[in-house]
């Protein structure tokens, strides 16, 4: 195991409001790192720092450093960084294009034009996201016509098409029914071992099911981090224990 993402003394602010304090942690290559915690614990803000999506917010500021492999993320060209560190949002946001054009959107923006290359990419990404069999006959239909769960797996396929190293999941199943949730979780399990995955979730059970390591965030601080089974079975902090057993949250 080698360190893929290293976070040192990271503090995040929106205006004067500090949403995350002095975070240091390391995420290993090809693990599923899960982050749990109640609302306003800073976990989504942390996630969106990893591909600098926070910077769209005019008031956002950060101190400390985040390195991806050996590079500081602030020194990487932001368009390249976002292709290398893909994100799947809480709600599936297909662009109002066909399934095919949704998946090729990122690669097209990075200059890929060849039809055969794109066709291969679409099939590979959809197979990886376990959506190929359901949509292979209607690749040129609008993506908006898919069901919610299918749309979310389409969004995963769309991220995969950019050939990322890291995939961020920002509460990817909070808007889905249980069956669609199970499908998305299966997809994550399949991707495990090939990509470094960081999953932020409100669903404690989900973190326990898919995670290799888990961090517990509370009010902008990381209370605890460790192997998922340790965090859930013998947490070292009483607040973690109370949260994972459902006493608050």
């Amino acid at each position: 195991m080698s360190t893929h993402i290293a976070v040192r003394d990271l503090c995040l602010y929106y205006g004067r409001n500090c949403v995350l304090k002095d975070l240091s942690l390391e995420i290993q290559r090809n693990e599923i790192f899960t982050i749990i915690g109640p609302a306003n614990s800073g976990k989504s803000s942390f996630l969106q720092t990893l591909n600098r999506l926070n910077e769209l917010h005019a008031e956002f500021r950060k101190t400390g450093s985040v390195t991806l492999g050996a590079e500081d993320i602030d020194t990487i060209d932001v368009e390249q960084l976002r292709a290398r560190v893909g994100i799947v949002f809480a709600l599936p946001f297909p662009l109002p294009l066909s399934i095919f054009d949704n998946i090729t959107y990122g690669p097209r923006m990075h200059g890929i034009r060849q039809k055969t290359q794109m066709t291969d990419l679409v099939e590979r990404s959809l197979r990886e996201a376990y959506l190929w069999d359901e949509v292979k006959d209607r690749l040129h239909h609008p993506a908006m016509n898919l069901s919610g769960g299918q749309q979310q797996r389409l969004c995963i396929a769309r991220v995969l098409a950019g050939q990322p190293e890291v995939i961020l999941f920002d509460e990817p199943t909070s808007g889905l029914d249980p069956i669609s949730t199970a499908r998305v979780e299966e997809t994550m399990m399949v991707l495990r071992g090939r990509y470094t995955i960081v999953l932020v979730t409100n669903n404690v059970a989900q973190a326990a099911r898919v995670g290799t390591r888990t961090a517990f965030f509370l009010m902008g601080e990381m209370v605890e981090v460790g192997d998922t089974k340790d965090v859930f079975t013998r947490p070292s902090d009483s607040r973690t224990d109370e949260y994972v057993t459902g006493k608050f949250g």
């Binding site: 591909n51 999506l53 769209l56 005019a58 368009e79 390249q80 960084l81 976002r82 292709a83 893909g86 994100i87 949002f89 709600l91 946001f93 662009l95 109002p96 959107y105 990122g106 923006m109 990075h110 609008p142 908006m144 769309r158 991220v159 950019g162």
Partner: protein, 281 residues
Amino acid sequence: MNVRTQQRIAVGFLFFCTVLVVLPVLVILGIITYKGFSALSFEFIFGMPKSGMNAGGIFPALLGTIYLVTGAILFAVPLGVLSAIYLVEYSRDNAISRLIKLAIVNLAGVPSVVYGLFGLGVFVVFLGFGVSILSGSLTLGIMILPVIITASREALESVPQSFRIVSLSLGASRWQTIRHAVLPHALPGILTGTILGLGRAAGETAPILFTVAAFYLPRLPESVFDQTMALPYHLYVISTQVPGIREDFRFGTALVLLLLVLILNFAAIILRYRFRKKKRW
């Protein structure tokens, strides 16, 4: 009075007011068509004016208006759309951008005759374009600029924020995001603004009065530095400045102006419809 009666009275009154709005439109259309239709002929539309505008046709004025509207649109749409893109997509909310927005709103409130004087001062005299199609088009263009900017801004702002975030998160640059994820969905709204501007540019008299319009010029313009007749000014001239013009010629001219604006609008609406059909969500 019980609730039901109140309800009936309210609905009846609202309906009455709505009909009142439609009424003037119908009456205007009706009278102009009734009195002007008999003047319409091939010669009237495609002929040169003769014998002190009391015979012949209005072709120079019709073509002049088409040139002026085209010129105004060519100038105002790119400029308006691009500045709207800057305001919505790039500018931060600060004192300068608020000042710009305020200026645009105020530009929309300036009386059209003031645009005419402005055009005379800047394009005709200062820049030396003379009384010409170029000066007239630019003056009309500036007049419709706020309409186009405002409509384009609204169109851009109505594109869901999620499209931008998704596009950026997939590694697209800001400009690629605008070009591929925002602009295609704002086009119908931008076209609506263009339609509104177009109708205004075709119908205004004051801005072209000092900058381009010729009283009587029975030939076609040869370059953008030529003067030209224009329909709204021609209508004004034959209705008020020259006594004894046949009534059907006056109403016929008004009818042609109306039809021109309707045809231009209709073309733009069809274009907008085709763009809308392409957007599938």
